[in-house]
């Protein structure tokens, strides 16, 4: 809690956060608030600005404009205090090849300042990690395990993951999910940048989607689904009703024999009235998966961009 205002402090707050690399836009005007104890997924294609955001939050690079706070502390002015409450897992693990896994975990724990040793040992078992080998002999996935174990074992208030499961096998991905859920149950905040949409769908309370350096969508999966079209499939004893085309919010109507498929955005009662009048034999409605939402948001953006280019 903020002692002055009595309001809960956001784990992460950015205001007009912007980063340009010369003429290249890394991130543009990001306004984001992540609540303490929340797991937020940060999604976007390659080059969208995910890693730039994380490097700004960690103070590794300076913003061109705007600012960011972690637990109320300015990430540029109070780096050491911010880092004391944060643990970070980079997408690509650059570790010292001559150290063993155990030595690296010890080093990273000492540099962080604190670690939960019994929990670290539990994580070593969970991730089936052999700590006696030298880093240069580890596969990419095993090197990533070191970073994950080191970060999770700190029990930091904020965990920042940048594509953390790259190189992990499905069993280890499962171990990662288990660990993130444990962290959430423990009241920790998780900022998860990922390409693995199923992972974000399974773990995240809210999803933020960035594209070309800009935040294009943020909300819970339920909120996003409400904004997105629902797919409806129906079959009829006779010809499907032609009036479906004229119902407000309905699009992409496809008729094949006695079957009809369409998408509806917004209230569904108008469509149901038309369908019910034709006495459907089967009726199926399906919410979009995160993958479909993601592709739909990107498709929409592309169309808008094309429109603005041609217009």
């Amino acid at each position: 809690m903020d002692a002055d205002s009595g309001t809960a402090l956001a784990a992460i707050r950015t205001e007009h956060l912007t980063k340009h690399y010369g003429a290249v836009v890394g991130l543009e005007d990001l306004n984001l608030e992540v609540n303490a104890g929340e797991v937020i997924g940060y999604l976007g294609p390659n080059g969208a600005g995910k890693t730039t955001t994380i490097r700004l939050l960690l103070g590794l690079i300076k913003p061109t404009a705007g600012r960011a706070e972690i637990f109320g502390m300015d990430v540029q002015a109070e780096k050491a205090a911010v880092h004391a409450r944060t643990a970070y897992v980079p997408g690509e693990a650059t570790l010292w090849p001559s150290l063993t896994g155990a030595e690296t975990l010890y080093l990273l724990a000492r540099m962080h300042g604190e670690t939960d040793v019994p929990y670290r040992d539990l994580l070593i078992k969970r991730f089936d990690f052999d700590v006696s080998r030298k880093v240069r002999t580890y596969s990419k996935g095993n090197r990533q395990k070191i970073n994950l174990i080191a970060a999770l074992a700190t029990r930091s208030d904020l965990l920042i993951f940048d594509e953390p499961t790259a190189g992990l096998d499905p069993l280890m991905e499962q171990a990662f999910r288990e660990s993130v859920l444990e962290a959430r149950d423990n009241g920790q905040t998780v900022f998860l940048s990922s390409h693995v949409l199923s992972e974000a769908e399974a773990l995240c309370d809210r999803i933020a989607i960035v594209r070309a350096g800009r935040l294009v969508e943020i909300g819970t999966l339920t909120q996003m689904r409400r904004l997105s079209a629902v797919t409806v499939e129906a079959s009829f004893p006779g010809t499907p009703p032609a009036a479906v085309d004229r119902v407000s919010g309905v699009s992409a109507v496809q008729v094949a024999g006695h079957h009809l498929t369409c998408q509806v955005r917004g209230p569904i009662d108008g469509l149901l009235t038309v369908l019910a009048a034709a006495h459907p034999e089967t009726l199926l409605s399906r919410e979009p998966s995160l993958e479909e939402l993601f592709l739909s948001i990107y498709g929409e953006q592309e169309r808008r961009n094309d429109g603005s280019r041609h217009g």
Binding site: K62, A84, H112, R136
Partner: protein, 567 residues
């Protein structure tokens, strides 16, 4: 089992084989890509060093006429130098240095063969083991090549670099030789650079074998450097002592010396040189047929954890660089021990020759009479000048590693935790400062130990102070290195090595020909007193420390402000 969307899509797709574009570009002889790629980089650096060597040879050819006011004085000076064991150990055989050809052979090959050898071993270990350790080699091997063919390609690329080095050194040697006052025939002028390049080729070949033997680049470079050190010691001992002259023939550097391109060429010595290069080349190609990442001397993949020195950034940096640091300090001790043992005999030669004193006076910037009174000290002064250069080389190398830590992303691991950037960089700079100070002190002590055993008359105190004095240019270079790291990190290594090369070149030129003092002022080696030839100038030491300290603080300040810049 429910079929997925992908399964359905695949089932409905008619399998028509791989799609082949009619416009697909085909490249000729993809198996030559490794040689071309390596060659492109090697030609650049080889040509640069060829230019440096060429100018150095050019300078030495003209310096012969300027080292003494008259031909008679020059003859007396060089005759005295010819019998001096210390100078023989330092730069090689002095038997014919009273002639222009012999003088140029001795001075130019003595220095350039060493520098070229170090370039060769570093270039080979970087291109072979360095690329493999960085993970780029597997991309190369995934192409249309084999391990052996790729290794041969790298060797061919290094060969292209050596050719560029030869061409530029030869060009400048021919130009110098065509001047009426120099008179070096075209045949000699073309054979001379071959001697320089053959040293580089031998140690590149040794570096290549070491890259197949050792599991890491630093160990491969360490093994090659050990062979180089042994070759130098054998050559130095062979040249310095008459009853063990045969040692020269046991050293690859001795073979280069025996070529004597300007004083009765002995091209037969090219045979052992070519034999060594061929043997190492064949061994490299044969050994290259192994598992990726493996090496002849297997490295244990597991170890008991040793957590000593992992508790904070400075001890950790020391732990990670302990082998390299120990090697530099060992080189400093070897320098002190070797030349300390020759201090007395060389000092006597210096003191007995007025011309030699004058020559030394030019180098050490002290009055002739003062040098005459202190022959041993004058010789020690020259050795401590080399110590200064060695310490600066350590600093340039260490600052290069600081930049590498940022470029490779190692720093990220630390500064995203509770380690501040200021603490990290200041700690690294402090560690380098401590090592260079220790190097200075160890240089002084090791020189004193063997000099004292020969009753050379040099006190412990004056050699200790000379060692501290020798560390001053290194401290200034360290500060400048941190400054560059703060502002333009990508240039850190180039600027540090460039400043060292510039200072060394100017000092060599300044000792032989008159160079404008404004230009000499830009050399970090020009200002410090050559203690113990003269008393250390503590004011200069103080100024160097102030420059280093100020520049380092500015560099740290800027590092805190700027973005981290991975490669």
């Amino acid at each position: 089992m429910a079929s997925t969307k992908t399964d359905r899509a695949m089932a409905s797709t008619k399998v028509a084989g791989p799609v082949v574009s009619a416009r697909r570009t085909r490249y000729a002889r993809p198996q030559l890509v490794v040689a071309r790629f390596t060659g492109r980089r090697m030609v650049r650096t080889g040509a640069l060093w060829g230019l440096v060597f060429g100018f150095y040879v050019y300078d030495n050819a003209f310096a012969f006429h300027t080292i003494a006011p008259t031909a008679a004085q020059r003859d007396r000076l060089l005759s005295t130098m010819a019998g001096d064991a210390g100078l023989k150990a330092l730069l090689g055989d002095t038997r014919q240095i009273t002639t222009l050809g012999g003088f140029t052979d001795w001075r130019a090959i003595g220095i350039t063969a060493l520098v070229a050898s170090i370039w060769g071993l570093l270039a080979a270990t970087k291109a072979l083991r360095g690329e493999e350790s960085a993970g780029r080699w597997e991309l190369v091997l995934a192409g249309q090549t084999t391990q052996r063919r790729a290794a041969a390609g790298v060797l061919a690329g290094i060969g292209a670099g050596l050719l560029a080095m030869y061409v530029l050194t030869a060009l400048l040697t021919v130009i110098a030789g065509s001047r009426p006052s120099v008179h070096i025939g075209p045949g000699q002028a073309l054979f001379f650079p071959l001697a320089v390049v053959s040293a580089a080729a031998m140690f590149a070949a040794i570096g290549a074998v070491a890259s197949e033997v050792m599991p890491t680049r630093s160990r491969a470079a360490g093994l090659s450097a050990a062979v180089f050190g042994a070759a130098f010691v054998l050559r130095a001992m062979g040249d310095a002592t008459s009853n063990a002259h045969w040692l020269v023939y046991a050293s690859p550097l001795g073979w280069v010396e025996q070529l004597r391109p300007l004083t009765g060429a002995q091209p037969l010595w090219l045979l052992p040189i070519a034999g060594l290069i061929a043997a190492c080349g064949v061994a490299t190609v044969l050994l290259a047929d192994r598992d990726l990442g493996a090496s002849l001397l297997a490295d244990s993949g597991t170890a008991e954890p040793h957590t000593a020195m992992l508790g904070s950034p400075v001890p950790f940096a020391l732990r990670m660089s302990r082998a390299v640091t120990a090697s530099w300090l060992a080189a400093v001790i070897a320098l002190g021990v070797l030349y300390g043992s020759l201090a007395k005999s060389t000092g006597q030669a210096f003191a007995s020759s007025g011309s030699l004193s004058r020559f030394t006076g030019t180098l050490t910037h002290v009055a002739e009479r003062q040098v005459q009174l202190a022959g041993t000290r004058a010789f020690a002064g020259i050795i401590f000048l080399i110590l200064m250069t060695l310490i600066m080389a350590y600093v340039a190398s260490a600052m290069g590693r600081v930049r590498e830590d940022e470029a490779e992303g190692y720093v990220d691991n630390l500064v995203v935790r509770r380690i501040t950037r200021q603490r990290w960089l200041a700690g690294r700079a402090g560690l380098i400062l401590a090592v260079l100070a220790i190097a200075g002190v160890l240089g002084g002590i090791s020189f004193w130990i063997t000099a004292a055993s020969e009753h050379a008359g040099l006190t412990f105190r004056e050699l200790l102070l000379a060692g501290v004095n020798a560390a001053a240019p290194g401290a200034a270079l360290l500060g400048i290195g941190v400054l560059i790291f703060g502002f333009v990190p990508r240039l850190t290594s180039s600027v540090c090595w460039g400043l060292l090369a510039w200072a060394f070149l100017l000092d060599m030129l300044g000792s032989a020909i008159k160079v404008n003092h404004w230009i000499m002022d830009t050399s970090l080696l020009y200002h410090p007193a050559l203690a113990p030839a003269v008393n250390p100038n503590w004011q200069i030491v103080g100024i160097y420390l102030a420059i280093g300290c100020g520049a380092a603080m500015l560099g740290v300040w800027r590092f805190i402000q700027r973005d981290l810049q991975p490669s």
